[in-house]
Amino acid sequence: MKILVTLALGLAALPSLAAEYAGFLPGKSQVDFVSTQMNVPVNGRFGKFDGQIRFDPAKPAEGQARLEVVLASIETGLDEANAEVAGADWFDVAKHPKAIFESTAVESLGNQMFRIQGKLTIRGTTQPVTTEARFTEQGGAGIFAGSFKMNRKDFGVGQGIWGDTSVVANEVEIRYQLAAPAH
């Protein structure tokens, strides 16, 4: 009897204990950006991306995330700008179709906040990036939401006449929401 009760309690407690998330939910994920044109923030978004997340809030240090963004899926709001940034001066999607982020370390900051360090590769250039994200669990999904700032020119994005940052700023903010199903 005692064993049965213990078992039942253990089973009841199981879902919350085993809150591990693995895989990727593109439909609940989002990759947006904010660039600045002559002091005016302009919002955009990437329509296509895929990822892989493995995360257990109880063991954050073991967490891993990888994201691949299809750069040609950019939506700036203007067709001519979409075509321009896919071109050789910007992402050069013919040679470098994807931007890839791969985490290298995850640490808890408390209060559901986590610091994620990783490597970001765009146009064949890899740079370290650090971002802080809030992790929430809702409806069977674990969701990371956060942002970070990067300099486009560190990756050679925006060359030639676009190298001048007085019209289109160097700094770009990336805002993301990445979801994985409970495992």
């Binding site: 005016v40 302009v42 019209v167």
Partner: protein
């Protein structure tokens, strides 16, 4: 007692008229030129300048309306037939409306296309509309339509002024251009 018949607009009205005329014509030409350009930083810069000039027209037009409502313009000469007076008044009303409609449609179109208007890069004008590509494209057509309407009426306005000056010799042009005799 006889009130002296004033024969020309006052200095402020004249200054505002020609200032707004200059900016409108320049900005109309700029709009025609820039939208054909290939996307470059230069083009983005021109778009910003175009928007700033448009906001300026809007503000000056508001000032003109205030001035016009508080300062009576000279009466049209009695030699003018009634129908001509009616056409002149109608045209002036349309010009005032378009001085607002053109910048306002440009501002709404910018908002819908996701590029906020920031006056001189410093003063953000709130977006009344959220980002919506289809709406933005539709407003582009409305902005264009208002502009070509404006161009047609400005052409008629200038042609009428010249006709009054060179054919009718009734002093209409020198009411707004006192340096012309």
């Amino acid at each position: 007692m006889q009130t002296p018949q004033h024969t020309r607009y006052d200095g402020v009205a004249i200054l505002l008229h020609w200032l707004v005329a200059l900016i409108i014509i320049g900005n109309f030409a700029l709009g025609l030129y820039m939208h054909e350009l290939k996307l470059t930083p230069w083009k983005l810069q021109l778009y910003s300048w175009h928007k700033w000039a448009g906001v300026t027209v809007f503000l000056l037009a508001a000032l003109r309306i205030l001035w016009r409502l508080t300062h009576r313009p000279p009466a049209l000469p009695d030699t003018m037939p009634e129908w001509q007076k009616a056409v002149a008044h109608g045209g002036h009303h349309l010009l005032y409306m378009l001085m607002f409609a053109v910048p306002v449609t440009g501002w709404l179109m910018s908002s819908a296309l996701g590029v906020q208007t920031v006056y001189f890069g410093l003063l953000p004008i709130p977006d009344l509309l959220g980002k919506n590509k289809e709406l933005g494209e539709a407003l582009k057509v409305v902005h264009e339509f208002c502009n070509f309407g404006m161009a047609a009426i400005v052409f008629g306005h200038a042609a009428a002024a010249l006709k009054h000056h060179y054919k009718d010799h009734d002093g209409i042009l020198s009411r707004m251009a006192p340096w012309v005799r």
